[in-house]
């Protein structure tokens, strides 16, 4: 995580971002509901979630985005800062699922003093099914 000097130069288009594995639990989903004051029952009441057609309580869209942001942030370390995260949720994730956040560098750019790295990012389940594809951008400190 401690890479600042030469981080931008060391990166090549096509490089993989170190993966981040997350295992959402009932407690985590409750904590995220509380921290965001999201009181929608589908995130902490299994009976309601099932009645709503879900397998169990659902991982929040926003929590998946935070997982992706954490992956990018740990990768950039002290060399830069996450400046943009885009993602769309295509499938559900439930307590007990093992989610892996991954990314791949698709573009490096320099505009004046500003250096940026754009990555394709996604959350996948154990079976390899991608449930949240997106795009992330890290801006390097100049």
């Amino acid at each position: 995580m401690r890479r600042d000097e030469g981080f931008f130069e060391s990166i090549q288009v096509g490089d993989e971002v170190p993966a981040l594995t997350k295992k959402p639990t009932y407690m985590q989903l409750f904590m995220f509901s509380a921290a965001t004051w999201n009181r929608h029952l589908i995130h902490y009441n299994t009976e309601f979630a099932r009645h709503d057609g879900l397998k169990d309580v659902a991982t929040h869209r926003a929590l998946m985005g935070n997982f992706l942001a954490q992956m990018l942030s740990e990768w950039a370390g002290e060399a830069g800062r996450v400046s943009k995260v885009e993602w769309s949720v295509r499938g559900g994730a439930f307590p007990g699922d093992v989610l892996t956040c991954r990314g791949k560098v698709v573009q490096k750019s320099v505009e004046g003093k500003q250096k940026k790295v754009v990555c394709e990012i996604w959350v996948e389940k154990e079976d390899g099914n991608i449930i949240a594809p997106g795009k992330g951008e890290v801006t390097l400190f100049s």
Binding site: K22, T36, H40, G65, S88
Partner: protein
């Protein structure tokens, strides 16, 4: 747009504004809730030695203020956030998407003004019937007027 009830259409463009004072506790709880153990978010001594010189919040911390803290009795029975409680002929919220821009860093003591509005409501045909999309634009600014975050979130209901 012709598929959208008039009462729903009337909600487009209406702004909701809220102000929140940021504490160390807010940041710590958010970091714990997302399972992010970076000491920069919680450890003052550690943070002092970084380029920021102080505790800062995780990149998507503004999600902590994405949903308004209205009293429980103002929520629908299923607890659906008021922001997306739009009169549409649908019952269930599914998936969604987001485009989140991160601006100036946020630290304890900051005062964040949250300005949010529905910018679009539209429909599309899905596999199991009509889907309704609600697009909410939320801008977060600190006490100096600097943008700290902006999110365009799309919620899907069916």
């Amino acid at each position: 747009m012709e598929d959208i009830p008039d009462e729903a259409k009337a909600m487009i463009g209406g702004e909701r504004v809220n102000v929140y004072e940021i504490t160390k506790k807010d940041i710590r709880r958010f970091a714990q809730a997302t399972g992010d153990k970076n000491p920069l978010y919680v450890d003052e001594e550690f943070a002092k030695k970084t380029r920021y010189g102080r505790i800062i919040a995780p990149p998507l911390f503004c999600h902590a203020f994405a949903f308004e803290d209205v009293p429980a009795e103002d929520l629908r029975e299923d607890g659906l956030p008021v922001e997306i409680d739009v009169p549409l002929p649908v019952k269930r919220a599914i998936g969604g998407a987001s485009s989140f821009e991160v601006g100036e860093p946020i630290s304890p003591g900051d005062s964040i003004t949250v300005t949010k509005k529905i910018i679009d409501i539209y429909t599309k045909k899905g596999k199991t019937g009509k889907l309704y999309f609600i697009v909410i634009d939320t801008v977060y600014r600190n006490q100096k007027g600097d943008m700290v975050a902006r999110e365009k979130a799309t919620y899907i209901q069916r």
